[in-house]
Each structure stands twice: as C-alpha cells, then as structure tokens.
C-alpha cells in the first residue's frame, strides 16, 4: 500500500528536481564560461519572477509577452552586473567574486522586499491546470510544462556548448583564458553575454517556480542552495550532470520525506551532496580537479 505512493512521489520529485536543475543549468552556463559560481543566482531567478509579475499583473500585458520582457530585463541585468561589477575585480581572489555575487543577490532581495514586503505573490498559470492520469499515477500539467522546458533548454545548451564553434570557443576560454585572449577572442564581451544568458535562464526558472509555489523575497536563497547542490552533485561544469543532480535531489527529498520522516525534506539536498562528494569528490560527472605543481 505504502509502496504504491512511490511513483506519485517520483512525479512530484521530478517537478521540483527539474526546477533545481534549471537553476543549476543557468549557474553552469556562467561557471563554464567564467569559472565563477554566481551566488546571487537565486535572487536573480526571483527577480525574473517579480519582473514577470510587474509586466503581467501590474501592467496587464499578455503573459507570454511579460515573460519575454522579463527575460530581456534579466539578460540586461546579468550583462550589466558582469560588466560593471565583476569585470573590474576579475583578478581578485575567488572569495571576493563570491562576495560580489552574494551582495548583488542581497541587494536584489532587499529591493523586492522594499516593494512587496514579505507577502506571498503568485504568478497566474498561463496554461490550464489539469492532470494526466497514467494508471494510478497522476501527472499534473505543471510537471509536463516544467519537464518540457528544462529538457528543451538542456538540449539547446548541449548543442550550443558541444556542437557549435561557439561551444568549442567556450571550452577554450574555460581551459585557458590567457590563451583565448591571445587568439583574439573578446573575453569581456563573451563573459558579459554568458552572465546575461545565465540570468535569463534563471528568470525562466524563477517564473516556472513562482507558478507552482508562492513567491517571496526569500525564495531565492532556497533556490540558490538547491541549484548549487545540483551542480556539486553532477560535477561543476557538467550540463547533463546538473540535470541528473537536480532530479536526484528532487526525487530523493520526496521519498526520504515520505518514507522516513518529513523533517528530512529540508536537509536531503545537503545529506546527499555530502555523501556523494565524500565518495566521489569530483561529483557524478565532473572531471577530477588537478592540483597545479
């Protein structure tokens, strides 16, 4: 009887897991091109959701138009953050870059709280809320939409990174920024665009999230941590890895939460990450880090 719940829990885990994966993917785009983990990404994602809220509810625009505008705004935000805030300190220690990203997120969160306070906001569902029954298992349209979007974006990113000249360029830049600069690649523009794309992807994640859970200024922190954990699980820099990592997190937190104790839902992500990294320090699909001699 209890076991019959498992498929339904997996469906629900896939839904949240795919959202973690999407945030992780957006952070991976930035990481693969600039070797920086954007610790402000959670708040950028919620900023995307708030922007959609403004365009769709505040200004009454068509939802699709609102999302596209929000993506544009977030692209610009990511681009400007890299240009104006990160580029000037590009040679600073990693810790300074991490702090800068955190500070940007903190300021965004403050801005959101200033405007909306701590009240719960929701984005209107732009598609019918329904469900598909597969035997005993119910698959909500939310799940279908989220899975569809994330797989589509993953596919696009895989093609861009692995099968286009641009992707090979990215790899070259990642492995040897100096070498790439010598070859004449305009690194600054490249990094800024990567930040823009990362923020835009985060906005898509934020919008999908805000359709199924209440939007508050503090949502970003939780999203950031799950995205970061998904990256670590999959191995930093691996696109497929981050999606697998996100799915694992989403599914296991539902299973552990149901079969063991609901109090494990909050902590599953960390527990799994710690266990996996202790066994495989480079994550599931990451390359081993080599210490320079």
């Amino acid at each position: 009887m209890l076991l019959m719940m498992a498929p339904q829990l997996v469906v629900s885990g896939v839904t949240t897991g795919m959202l973690y994966a999407l945030i992780g993917l957006s952070m991976t785009v930035v990481y693969r091109t600039t070797t920086i983990v954007n610790f402000g990404q959670g708040d950028m994602a919620t900023a995307g959701a708030y922007a959609t809220l403004v365009f769709a509810v505040g200004l009454g625009l068509n939802f699709g138009v609102a999302v596209v505008l929000a993506i544009g705004v977030l692209f610009a935000l990511g681009y400007v953050v890299q240009r104006a805030l990160l580029r000037p300190i590009a040679n600073a220690p990693h810790l300074a870059l991490a702090m800068m990203a955190l500070a940007v997120g903190y300021a965004l969160r403050g801005g959101a709280r200033l405007e909306w306070g701590n009240q719960f906001m929701t984005l209107p569902r732009p598609y019918p809320q329904g469900a598909l029954a597969l035997g005993q298992v119910v698959i909500p349209t939310d799940t279908l939409v989220i899975v569809g979007f994330v797989l589509l974006l993953l596919l696009i990113l895989l093609v861009v990174f692995q099968a286009t000249p641009l992707g090979r360029l990215t790899q070259a830049v990642f492995q040897s920024p100096r070498g790439a600069a010598l070859v004449g690649i305009n690194l600054d523009a490249f990094h800024a665009v990567a930040w823009g794309v990362g923020a835009a992807l985060g906005a898509i994640g934020g919008v999908l999230l805000a359709i199924i859970v209440p939007l508050t200024p503090d949502l970003g922190e939780w999203v950031l941590v799950q995205g970061f954990a998904a990256m670590a699980l999959g191995g930093f820099g691996s696109l497929g890895g981050v999606v697998v990592g996100g799915l694992l997190l989403g599914i296991l937190e539902k299973l552990l939460g149901f079969y063991v104790n609901s109090m494990f839902i909050d902590i599953t992500g960390y527990l799994i990450t710690v266990v996996v990294l202790l066994v495989r320090p480079q994550g599931l699909f990451g390359r081993r880090m080599i210490v320079r001699v």
Partner: protein, 330 residues
C-alpha cells in the same frame, strides 16, 4: 658571510622591535572604550556588545578564508555550536557562564577539525564551499529538530546570570576583555611561523610543502583556531541575547559574517575588527526598514569591493603603516 652584513642584521631586527612598540598605541582604543558605557543607552550598549561578539566571529572566520584562503563556509556552525554549547551547559547542567566559555571554544574547535577533513583531503573551491555550507545547515537543522535538547524552532531561554553578567553595561567589560584576548592571541598566531605557514598555503601549497611546511596539519590547525575563537564568540552571544533560536544561524547570518571579513579586508585581522564594527552597527540604523536595510547592505558591500578591494582597513593603512601589514596586497 662578511662581517659588515652580520652587523647590519641585528640593527634591522631592532627596527622590527620598534614596529611592535609603535603598535602599542593600539592599546589606547580599549582604554578609551572603558569610558564609553556612560554615554550609551541600553539599546546602544547592546549593539556595542554585539559588535564585540562579531569581532571574535570575524577574526576567527578570517583565519580560514583570509589567511588560509579557502572557500570554507562553516563559520556559522562554529558560532551556533558555541552558542548552543554555552546555553545548554548553563540551562541543563547549571554551570555558571564563565565556566562555559572555554568549553564553547573547544566545541567550536572540534567542529573546526571536523569541517577541515574535506580540505585536508584536498577538496577545494566550490566543492569545499558546498561541503562546509552543508555542515552549517546540518547543524541548524539539528537545532531545529533535536527539540528535547534545544526546544527546536521555539528557541531556548538562557538562564540569567549574576554580576558581572547581569546587565548589558556590565557584560560590556567582560566582552571587551575577551575580545582583546582573542585579538592579541590571534595576532600573535598570525605573526608567527603559523601565520606565515597559513599565508604560504594560500599562496602556493606546493611551494609551501617544499619549504617543509606540513600543509595538512596547518589547514587543520587553522580551522581549529577559527572554531575556537568563533565558539567563544558564541558563548558571548548566548549570554548577550538571552534567547537562542535556530534562525540566528541561517544563510543570512553566513552572508553577514562573510561580509564582515570581506568589507573589513580579507586576510587582515584589524580589518575583521573594523568590519565587525561597521556591519553590526550600521544596519541598526535601518532596522525598521527591512528591505531598505538589505539593499543598503548589499550596495555597501558592492561599493567596498569595487573601490576598496582590500577592504576598509586599506583606508587606515593609507594613514599609517601600522595598519598595513599582513593582508592581501594584490
């Protein structure tokens, strides 16, 4: 070696001593602080006491992130364990606060040793970041769910203490002594071969090992020291707030502690003290405007990182070289 060279060396060693003597002017600050309380109301006194708590939290954190240069974020765990350790020893075992200070430090140091394990095994950068972050969040989760011990999210009340811990004003003098002890001890550590070993590990681990430095032992030691100092800060926090609850040790707290180190000046002990003072006191001004407070806080960090990459301490370093030594010079 020629004799002229031999005679020059002691002269320069004497210059070094002179530098240490000049640094004695720093003692003026705590002496002046002794006369501060009469000018403060109770709330202001509480804020100043909190600054002193964060002096310990900041200088401890700085050892790991600034001096060892590791992306390790378990500082909040040391702080929380020190706080709960002290509070529980008082509440459950009836110990006087003074007797819980060193145990709180030892609990923090043990947590430091545990969290150093991944780093000692060679885990670096973001992998280390998530593992240490996970430890901190696991601890917070434990405070929430081990209700029989900690009273969970409701928080636990710290028994009130007798003189000299009964009022904020009296506690100030106790805290001041502890803060000075922590600063002096950490300063001595960082100026010795231990500090040089930390900096060497930050600069180039392979070269450090080639100089005969057992890098793993020093990484472990750095974490333990950090945990010890921050754990004592936790004990101070426990008696200062009187009510201990898990949200005090969440991610927001981590960002604040990280900002104390970065805004003050990564790697600089004096910087961490300044960072503690500025970042603890300043947000109080905007305390009744939550969103605005975060916005100002975020923007301030951004401005410091952009225009004072070596932190607020570099402003003082421009005034006098006494402030200038041992922080990131890049």
């Amino acid at each position: 070696m020629d004799s002229a060279a031999a005679s020059r060396a002691p002269a320069r060693a004497a210059e070094g001593r002179l530098f240490f003597r000049r640094r004695r002017v720093f003692w003026l600050l705590p002496v002046l602080l002794l006369f501060l309380p009469p000018f403060l109301n109770q709330y202001q006194q509480y804020v100043v006491n909190t600054v002193l708590v964060y002096v310990l939290v900041g200088i401890g954190f700085n050892v790991v992130v600034g001096n060892l240069g590791l992306l390790a974020f378990s500082n909040v765990a040391y702080f929380g364990l020190g706080t709960y350790g002290s509070a529980l020893l008082m509440a459950k075992l009836g110990w006087p606060w003074a007797a819980t200070v060193i145990p709180a430090g030892i609990i923090g140091a043990l947590a430091g040793v545990i969290t150093s394990i991944p780093a000692v095994r060679g885990v670096r950068l973001f992998y280390l970041a998530i593992l240490t972050l996970a430890f901190g969040e696991l601890m917070r989760w434990t405070y929430v769910h081990w209700e029989s011990l900690t009273n969970g999210s409701m928080g636990m009340t710290v028994p009130s203490a007798a003189f000299p811990l009964d009022t904020d004003r009296h506690r100030f003098y106790v805290f001041l002594v502890l803060a000075i002890l922590a600063i002096v001890a950490t300063d001595r550590l960082l100026r010795s071969r231990f500090g040089r070993a930390f900096e060497a590990i930050r600069g180039n681990e392979v070269a450090a090992a080639a100089m005969g430095i057992p890098t793993n032992r020093y990484i472990l030691l750095g974490f333990a020291w950090s945990g010890f100092i921050v754990g004592i800060g936790g004990a101070m926090f426990a008696i200062s707030v009187g009510q201990v609850s898990p949200p005090s040790f969440n991610m927001q707290e981590l960002i604040l502690e990280f900002a104390v180190v970065m805004v003050g000046g990564l790697g600089s002990l004096i910087g961490s003290v300044i960072g503690a003072a500025v970042l603890t006191a300043l947000p109080q001004i905007f305390i009744s405007f939550p969103g605005f407070q975060e916005l100002v806080f975020g923007v301030m960090i951004i401005l410091v990182l952009l225009f004072l990459p070596r932190g607020l301490v570099s402003l003082l370093a421009r005034l006098s070289p006494l402030f200038a030594d041992r922080f990131y010079r890049e």
